[in-house]
Symmetry: C2
Subunit: 254 residues, 2 copies
Amino acid sequence: MAVIAVFNQKGGVGKTTTTLNVAAGLAVLGRQPLILDLDPQAHVSLALGVRGVPSEACMSGFFRTGRPLAHMVRPLRNGVRIIPGHPDLSKIDALLGSTPGVAGKLRQGLAEGQLAYAGPVLIDCAPALGVLSLNALFAAERVLIPVTADFLTIQGLNRLDIALKVLEQPLQRRIERRVVLTRYDEAKPQCREALATLRQKYGEALCETRIPDDPALAESPAHGMDIFAYAGDSPGAQAYRLLTLELLDKGFFQ
Amino acid sequence: MAVIAVFNQKGGVGKTTTTLNVAAGLAVLGRQPLILDLDPQAHVSLALGVRGVPSEACMSGFFRTGRPLAHMVRPLRNGVRIIPGHPDLSKIDALLGSTPGVAGKLRQGLAEGQLAYAGPVLIDCAPALGVLSLNALFAAERVLIPVTADFLTIQGLNRLDIALKVLEQPLQRRIERRVVLTRYDEAKPQCREALATLRQKYGEALCETRIPDDPALAESPAHGMDIFAYAGDSPGAQAYRLLTLELLDKGFFQ
Ligand SMILES: Nc1ncnc2c1ncn2[C@@H]1O[C@H](COP(=O)(O)OP(=O)(O)OP(=O)(O)O)[C@@H](O)[C@H]1O
Ligand SMILES: Nc1ncnc2c1ncn2[C@@H]1O[C@H](COP(=O)(O)OP(=O)(O)OP(=O)(O)O)[C@@H](O)[C@H]1O
Ligand SMILES: [Mg+2]
Ligand SMILES: [Mg+2]
């Protein structure tokens, strides 16, 4: 079971859109992915049409009462499974914030056989480096980092690199990371500049596939669908299909 | 002294871009605005070229040690003043999270004459409803809510409305709010639909001025400038000039 955190503390860079559509891309290939929604906005749950689930049957239930993860998995029509997010998650920081070892709770929950699971696990994170995202980063073997081609986002990556280095100390292992450019528009000079900067900074760790700016990607959540179900021939669907294959080829889901 | 929180828990909707450019718009009109940067990313500070300020001289210094706000105000060349943000702010949730009355700290700091200030105060918030944003909402008389025209963001407004209603109870007053559409593209059907939805939901509280999608707005922070200093004739500059005037006309900074 490979656990991947989809994280970037910068807001609005495409974390939810990437979690939704890479998971759906894996499901189309029969890989039976599981999404953990760790964002109090519960946006990836909403985008998959999962609404109104009581807090104790969501990821907040796991953090508050230690309910086994396996009891909360919901299979969906598109082949993706999910444990939904919930607004109650926003109380976890204040509730557990300074308890020692709190960052390892999810890692423990995944390890204790609570979730005898073979498929890849993708964790959608909130845009903050709080207790929830720390749990995701501790539990994950790898991190997928969506990035948009603008100054504030690219600057924020320096802080993210520092945060990951700090985490690698207690974990005693390297957290492999991959960066993927989203909302990329070849015609904009700012995008081409960002590509050059990121290639230099990340080399192999920058995904070859870039996700174009495609309105269909912003629309599919309104219909409770991933991009393949909503607009399978769109540029967005094509890009997420390629990204999923690229990540599989590179063993990112091993 | 009018205190305005620029808030939306959805990430990447233009909170920082709006704080930066409305403050600069006010400065151009001689109103001597003050920005409080309450985001651990410290993006509005970075966009104004304010870097490397030690934590005790930033908003984190106020929350950790109660240092008077008046001691940390930095005047900038463009007429804006700022108390910078700092990554240490991300520790405030865990540090103070469950202390009773913690949400009122900033309101108290502003009221205690720590900051004998006449101009409007604008608070840039992080994309999360944690202790920091609660402090901003408690301290503010009004909230400016940037919104992009997409399903996930529009959906998130329902949660924001609920959160503001909950806050109005202990405050015993109404928190006046204004919603402003950002990255608006008249040609996209999704944008026109969002405009109709928001007009119906918010009526007068929806700003007439809409901010267009203008790459210059994403570029100005790379030069440590607001849009007026960077590209004064751009569509983005024109829109933020109009927005500032509209808000002034409606008494939003009284
Ligand atoms: N490639 C794309 N083309 C067009 N729109 C996109 C694309 N990727 C994301 N979007 C839109 O941009 C907005 C931000 O994306 P998304 O919500 O996935 O980001 P996020 O990083 O998860 O945000 P948050 O920080 O709030 O969790 C959404 O409205 C989404 O629909
Ligand atoms: N009107 C606009 N036209 C073009 N680009 C814009 C516009 N408004 C914002 N942007 C760009 O979109 C990105 C998100 O904007 P910004 O960082 O201001 O949002 P935010 O809500 O402050 O994000 P966060 O949730 O991370 O704090 C930035 O790169 C910014 O430059
Ligand atoms: Mg998201
Ligand atoms: Mg911001």
